[in-house]
């Protein structure tokens, strides 16, 4: 049981941080740049992608033994396109505001590299539950990243936070396209900087742990064997 939780935890952590689609892999950039004019828009875009990602991952994983290897890419694309068509109908009916603000980027979720990428790299090989978790957390990682960019651009560009005016200033640069590239670039740099530092700190800690009990037998080995007994 413990091992299972660890296994799913690792999938989740990979999707959120290690392989963060927006900041680490830099995939699905069109949607990120185009929809991050405001926090609400980017949050909506992130959730839409998450929904499509989850559904397509589950369906592709269910069909992974049925789809012949040679025609897998067209098959994946048709599944994803169907999901996007469904999502489009639902949004048009129930959240027309978001539907209008997404414009051409809603059909373009079909060609979002993140979704096809996860289908090809993960869902076509792994069991359903794993794929579902991978879909949710990759999607959430993307949603968080998009929302961060959206918040920064909205705040600097119009002084508001999720549509609520908090400061009285406007910097036009951040609401137009040049600002999108700029903020995205800086965000990637910061993310890389922070994760690198965290990685370095973790490795230093591990090295210290290994060095201290160097005299007697290493502790980790004992721990792992105890776990196996359980």
């Amino acid at each position: 049981m413990n091992g299972k939780i660890k296994h799913y935890g690792k999938i989740a952590y990979d999707g959120l941080i290690t392989n963060n689609a927006t900041f680490k892999l830099v995939l699905g950039t069109c949607a990120t740049l185009g929809m991050s004019t405001s926090a609400v828009n980017s949050f909506g875009m992130g959730l839409s992608v998450t929904v499509v990602l989850l559904l397509s991952n589950v369906i592709i994983s269910l069909l992974r033994k049925v789809i012949p290897n040679t025609v897998r890419i067209p098959a994946f694309v048709v599944i994803i396109a169907t999901m996007v068509t469904l999502l489009r109908m639902v949004l048009e009916k129930y959240i027309p505001d978001l539907y209008d603000s997404m414009g051409v980027f809603l059909p373009l979720i079909v060609v979002n590299c993140v979704i096809l990428g996860r289908a090809e790299a993960f869902a076509s090989k792994q069991p359903v539950l794993d794929s579902a978790i991978d879909g949710i957390f990759t999607g959430l990682g993307l949603t968080c990243a998009l929302t961060v960019i959206g918040i920064i651009r909205e705040f600097l560009g119009s002084g508001s936070f999720f549509g609520i005016q908090v400061m009285d200033f406007k910097i036009g640069f951040f609401t137009n396209s040049a600002g999108a590239f700029f903020v995205y670039g800086i965000c990637i740099a910061l993310f890389v900087l922070i994760t690198d530092q965290a990685d370095k700190a973790r490795r230093a800690k591990q090295a210290r742990l290994l060095r201290v009990p160097a005299g007697d037998q290493p502790l980790p080995a004992v721990e792992s064997s105890a776990e196996e007994v359980k």
Binding site: A81, S177, A180, Y184, G185
Partner: protein, 204 residues
């Protein structure tokens, strides 16, 4: 008429540039722009597929899907048309000119998942030219001729941005850049400055 054509050209190439203003086709823009030559090949391949895709999807939508009332299937139909076209083009180029295939071949399959192609097909589904080209008088209805013109020049705009970026990145490679800014971040910042330059066109 002449004014409309001129405005479509300026808008598609500069003021509504697909990469730098509309954010369509950013993946190849970041992935294949390390060298000017490969950027140019990719740009030409994309332009070619854009024109062919428009030539098929626009009549398909207006003359078949709308009369049959199946507009809601547009995404599935369009992506299928684009995938089939790319596959076909790949085979044709391979047969006709092996040299061109070798230089362009690796970029062709990538084009299927290029937002710019599906983007142009979706954008062109308007009734009035003024909806996608600012400055055009209202009442000029969209037709296949305008659609193809827009697709051609959107592709040229794409190529221009790709080649410019290729040049910038060739120079950037040789410069000392802070470690965390290496790769994507510095490219994005460079793209930001290019986008600023293109933004000026929309003020004219």
């Amino acid at each position: 008429m002449a004014a409309t054509i001129f405005l479509i050209i300026i808008s598609a190439v500069f003021s509504q540039n697909f990469i730098l203003v509309k954010f369509l086709g950013i993946c190849p823009f970041l992935g294949v722009s390390k060298k000017t030559n490969s950027a140019l090949s990719m740009g030409i391949a994309v332009t070619l597929v854009m024109i062919l895709a428009t030539l098929v999807t626009y009549p398909l939508y207006t003359y078949i899907m709308v009369p049959l009332g199946i507009e809601y299937l547009e995404i599935i139909f369009f992506i299928f048309v684009i995938a089939a076209l790319v596959q076909m083009l790949e085979k044709i180029i391979e047969k006709l000119s092996p040299a061109l295939y070798r230089s362009m071949g690796i970029y062709l399959p990538l084009i299927t998942t290029n937002c710019a192609i599906l983007g142009v097909a979706e954008l062109l589904l308007v009734n009035d030219v003024s909806e996608i080209v600012s400055g055009v008088a209202e009442g000029i209805s969209m037709n296949l001729g305008f659609a193809l013109l827009y697709a051609l020049f959107a592709g040229i705009g794409f190529t221009v941005a790709m080649v410019l970026m290729g040049g910038v990145r060739e120079k950037l490679e040789k410069l000392p850049v802070a470690k965390c800014m290496k790769g994507f971040p510095i490219t994005m910042v460079a793209a930001s400055f290019m986008a600023m330059a293109f933004y000026v066109f929309s003020l004219l």
